[in-house]
Symmetry: none
Subunit: 120 residues, 2 copies
Amino acid sequence: MLIRVDGSSTVPLYEQIAAGVRRAITEGAVSRGDRLPAAKELGASLDVNMHTVLKAYGQLRDEGIIEMRRGRGVTVVDQPADHALLAESARKLVADARRAGLTAEEIIRLVDVRDQKRRE
Amino acid sequence: MLIRVDGSSTVPLYEQIAAGVRRAITEGAVSRGDRLPAAKELGASLDVNMHTVLKAYGQLRDEGIIEMRRGRGVTVVDQPADHALLAESARKLVADARRAGLTAEEIIRLVDVRDQKRRE
DNA sequence: ACCTATTTGTCCGTATGTATG
DNA sequence: CCATACATACGGACAAATAGG
């Protein structure tokens, strides 16, 4: 799994790392159930502090794509959900959001993981 | 707003602080739109590090309960309930979708109601 | 327009705790 | 018991956004 970070970028290091791991997964460089390098280890290879890697990992965990366990390490979450169920959940979310008065753009922003800046 | 923490508890300090703020809001000790004490300030009064308070605040922000802005501070949002529920639903949807292997663009399409409109 | 203080955001380093194997 | 690896907490440093003089 090769990830590169740019210290001069305005994008936070932990976001770059998280994006790199996501990319490695979607591109198949890392498979489901695979173990990711220990935070300390990946940090060393990127010349980045362990905590920064842990923050990236924590974000991915919150997104549900990896699992973190003490003493055991980090693994890519095992397997899928059903597309029909996803569509159903999506319709519900949109309905709720519309009731709450959100615009289409705001609803999209709700699930947009591409712009990694905190919503403000 | 009075919060107390127990350093000997197994519950993490930042969880205790987050719980205390939630309680203060639901009990009406803090109103919508009110400003919460600066992390440094609350930390000093609780004898806890600023970063620990910031972690608690960050959790509440992820739940949609508060807003944080540099230079300005932390404020309780207008409609915590609605926003929190929506954010939570969205988070789950994104997590499920990612487990199903959907890309960010595919996830957005799930909730995009702007049919043929151009997305910039 | 400028400067300063405030306050959150990120990153680093260290230390200690806790679950796993 | 021991090594591994994440979890929490502290502290310091600097950056970036905001507000006020």
